[in-house]
Symmetry: C2
Subunit: 428 residues, 2 copies
């Protein structure tokens, strides 16, 4: 049996989960892998705060040096949010020769290149299974399980807050504001949910997945990113009319002209397995050249699911497996740059909702303009006109070049056959 | 770059997939992990058979000794079916000091204890990601990704043949025989599908998953196993009436009185994610003490998906990761015996279909007997009587002890209020 003393920086929700699992199931790791894993030192800004759990035998301190100077601590669990103090603390650990396990996706997406280079220089590693999709072992699946595959596409529902809000809007007809409030009450959304609902958090996770899948630098600022905060009850209802559900979808899809990378509310047809990933769950659909499609679904956040991923990394580091694969796979140190596909050249299915007056020739006018640009209609729904004599025409298209699609929409809106600017969304 | 010469025994569907991937994507493994992986020797009973692919630079022979004596070959991909020659060949490879990667689930389920003991003695390993659920990295997920979890339940759709047949029966109203024939035409079912449709193949896979999840010997002969070959169109329709779909489900669920292990056609409610695992897909739902529920879905069979899993194992062995984790985790060598729960003591939801005459008091008679045994009804459907004046009453129950459920059913059938023996099934 091998003693594995851990340092823990950050004793919040996930840190509490790590402490809980190791207090309850320390013997499990001994039985399974001969490792006696325990938290030796907890570094927190608030050592004296009253908590619902005890630290057990761990020293609790606000002095990072206690941890950094301790030679017995070879691995540090880094659970500090943001990218300022979090970055400094991560750098300090790496410089002190500690392996780092982190759940901080923003840190890796924005400073991963620098941090992994430092880790390589100091002959330690950074493990981050917990940074994407919480308890779902997606990083290991992409790195190891699918190693024999060229990745042909990744479609991910990567933010539980957004997925919960959208599920409530879809299944119970709630409005965005009401669904957000409910999510906050249940602890699925932060008091300030901005980075979740505007898509930033999903973009960070997508950058990390793409870094691994496509072996190159992904500039996170260049990921096109739309959130769910502008979606309306009408959008949700329209998706239903067309046999689909709206999800905040992260897309990474390589092609001959570059990598398509985006985060956007997207109609998912009901017969696609991602359509059934609901409530606060995360789901990742990976298309591999050999394995075909693989779908992984699970809890993308929360104390215990995220701690489960953190401790899987800890075990991989304590057995030495992780150093071996991570170093060998260069999977966060490749300096390749991956060319991104400009939005105009993306080829995807799309959705449009035209608000039109109820008079003859309108539908013909719309379909004629679509046809001129080579936009082929996959399915369509037209409702009965309302009391003002206005009707909604909703269409989904076959895959079409974005430039052509948006040019057709712009022409239609200029032709005076729509009464409001046409609403568009992506469709999987 | 490290040369990794492989031996391949068996050049059938999956062997062909391995050869195809390595011919097409040999550079991928060099780029990703610095390994130059290639098949050096192919052993087949039919070296002279005309094939759709060439062996490239590999030697093709029917002499196993060519492979066994080659010191450069440290890892053998073993793709021989059955348990007789397959066992001898596996033993020969282990005795020659070769690591073995196999997709043969029957071999491991029946002779795993003996083979893993031999491997440990010879300081080599047996890797078998491909043996369960093809391209889905479920073995790695249970062993590594969920290492911090006590496994609270595994529910698996593990046989693509059965799932395809049931999907066709459900979605297109086909009968069992017709759906089987279609599956055979599409290559989803063997000419002799017995071991698939009678549940044996699923039981083998369940035994392997349970071996890993519960760290002990699983006597495969003691797994209760029912197939899909006796299901009728009425069963499928009844499930629909009660908001469910029938899947061949493998269940492993530990409890204070023993491990519940069975393979049986099971009603899965439509709101459960496994209900949407259809066509020839496999799906595994794992409930972990920390991660909560995780669902993995993908291609459970076929040349390339299975070869994808085989090559993931090959990489893990060539990097040395696998030897490290497999040896450390003792995950197929533990001699613990896992006590199984007798069927009578299982506590599950169940389904019953009563064929009754259309006369007063029948429903009261049935519900009264159920109530006497503590069987609580979850939902119910009664159709209009047919022209003979007979009606079907279908129920799903809340979780109930099997003994009580079956005693209630037997009593009802003896009371002369049913016109045919009552049909029962499990419900998730």
């Amino acid at each position: 049996m091998e003693r594995c003393a851990l340092g823990l920086i950050g004793w919040g929700t996930v840190g509490g989960g790590v402490v809980e699992i190791l207090q309850r199931d320390r013997q499990l790791f001994v039985d399974r892998c001969g490792l006696d894993i325990f938290v030796k030192t907890i570094v927190t800004r608030t050592p004296s705060r009253t908590r619902s759990q005890t630290a057990g035998d761990a020293v609790v301190t606000d002095q990072i040096d206690v941890l950094l100077r301790d030679k017995e601590i070879r691995t540090v669990i880094h659970l500090v949010g943001g990218t300022t103090a979090a970055r400094d603390l991560c750098v300090a650990c790496l410089k002190a020769g500690k392996h780092v396990v982190t759940a901080n996706k923003a840190l890796l997406a924005e400073f991963g290149d620098e941090l992994f280079a430092l880790a390589a220089e100091r002959k330690v590693t950074i493990a981050f299974e917990a940074a994407v999709a919480g308890g779902i072992p997606i990083i290991a699946a992409l790195r190891d399980g699918l190693v024999a595959n060229r990745i042909e596409a990744i479609y991910g529902i990567l933010n539980g807050t957004c997925n919960y809000i959208l599920s409530r809007m879809t299944e119970d007809g709630k409005g965005y504001t009401e669904a957000l409030k409910e999510a906050q009450e249940l602890g699925y959304a932060e008091a300030d949910p901005t980075l979740d609902v505007n898509g930033t958090d999903t973009a960070h996770k997508l950058a990390i997945l793409a870094r691994i899948a496509f072996h190159g630098r992904i500039p996170v600022s260049e990921i096109r990113c739309e959130g769910i905060d502008k979606l309306t009850a009408q959008d949700i209802a329209s998706a239903k009319n067309l046999g689909a559900r709206i999800k905040l979808l992260a897309v990474a899809k390589p092609g001959p002209n570059g990598l398509e990378l985006r985060v956007a509310p997207t109609l998912i047809p009901n017969d696609h397995p991602l359509a059934h990933v609901s409530k606060n769950y995360n789901g990742i659909y990976v298309l591999g050249s050999a394995a075909g499609p693989t779908l992984l679904v699970g809890q993308g956040a929360g104390a215990l699911p995220t701690a489960s991923a953190v401790l899987a990394d800890v075990v991989d580091i304590c057995t030495g497996s992780y150093q071996n694969t991570a170093a060998r796979f260069h999977f966060f140190t490749s300096a390749n740059s991956v060319p991104l596909l400009p939005e105009a050249d993306e080829v995807t299915c799309s959705y449009a909702r035209f608000a039109v007056p109820d008079r003859p020739g309108i539908l013909a006018g719309i379909t004629s303009e679509l046809n001129k640009k080579g936009v082929s209609v996959l399915n369509m729904h037209q409702g009965t006109p309302n009391i003002q004599g206005q009707a909604l025409i909703e269409i989904c298209t076959h895959a079409v070049r974005s430039k052509d699609f948006f040019e057709a929409i712009n022409t239609i809106d200029r032709l005076n056959i729509t009464v409001r600017p046409t609403v568009t969304l992506r469709r999987l």
